[in-house]
């Protein structure tokens, strides 16, 4: 696996910089995602009883449309059995920086203040 490719860079970042574990790839018909376990659960127990998070790596300069997002959630549903509430988008800049953003399928429930 080319460690300098998109997938490789994100896997490295998750593993060595963010200290995630159990990192693997999920190959879908049109997309390849990453699955892994954060060092500590990212959110309250109710949301992450699964403990695994799904990462979608993408370059800052790539295109991302609502249709593509829908497609990712749909392909993940076929793979995992039901439509997951959220994925994490890993956005890579050409300078090596990576930022992570949660993308929820639908309208997010408001958090208690």
């Amino acid at each position: 696996m080319n460690q300098n490719g998109l997938l490789g860079q994100v896997k490295q970042n998750l593993l060595h910089y963010n200290l995630w574990s159990d990192i693997s790839e999920i190959k879908l018909p049109n997309y390849t995602l990453i699955q892994g376990k954060p060092k500590e659960p990212l959110s309250s127990a109710a949301e992450s009883h699964n403990e695994y998070e799904i990462i979608y790596p993408i370059k800052l300069t790539d295109s991302l449309t609502p249709k593509q997002l829908n497609q990712i959630f749909e392909e993940l549903k076929l793979e995992k059995g039901n439509r997951l509430p959220k994925i994490i988008c890993a956005i890579l800049n050409d300078d090596g920086t990576i930022v992570y953003y949660n993308i929820y399928n639908g309208l997010i429930k408001p958090k208690k203040n």
Binding site: N13, Y17, N18, P38, L42, I58, L60, T61, D62, S63, L64, T65, P66, K67, L69, N70, Q71, F73, E74, R83, I88, C89, A90, I91, I98, V99, Y100, Y101, N102, I103, Y104, N105, G106, L107, I108, P110, K111, K112, N113
Partner: protein, 230 residues
Amino acid sequence: MGLPLLLMTEEIVWLVLKNLAILVPGKKYIESIYSKISQDDIQLLEKEKKDYLEDQLAIKIKQFEEKQIKLNRPVKINKDFLIENFTLIIPREPNPLLLKDRYVHDKSEELVSITNFLKFSATTYSIFQYLKSLDYFLLPGLRFGGRFIAYPGDPLRFHSHLIVNDFKYNENIDLIKLVRGGRLATGVKKAWLVASVIEGDEEKCVDKQKDDEIAGEEIACFSVEWAGFG
């Protein structure tokens, strides 16, 4: 906020389509009323104006009496003297709504205006209507760099809002925008919403939305927030 209200285009369309308001072309409305005005109408307007003044006066007198009682002072005093010297009532213009039945509502003209609005922002309106059907309150989104701000209707969930952004289904979101919007939203305890009307002959791959859709449109929504790590 008082009258007149300044509404968003989408609010106006929504109110008219829900039969909660009608669009009235200002000039035509006034002409329509005043071309048919009769002597009885004038008397009606004058009477309404007089009644309003008398009501206001009665309120002022009552307020004065209550104040006197509170301060343990005598209530019965020379009312005429008081009225002349100590009350200020600003008379109001006659209320044109009293004659609103004189205006003949032109539905076709109204529909032309609505259609022009919709042509201007049809997909934005679809998103507006969808969120309204889920009991969100919507305000203009300029303060947070979005199209709308959406407030969940339930007062118990008072503090969280959405910054609503409308996109075409095949439109590139532009990841820099996503980063900027997502980081801002998270910083102010909101989420950055990507809202879009589904196009094409896709199977219903979005979880079924509530009813109240225009011509069977479905809306795809994705909420974005900073993941908090990295």
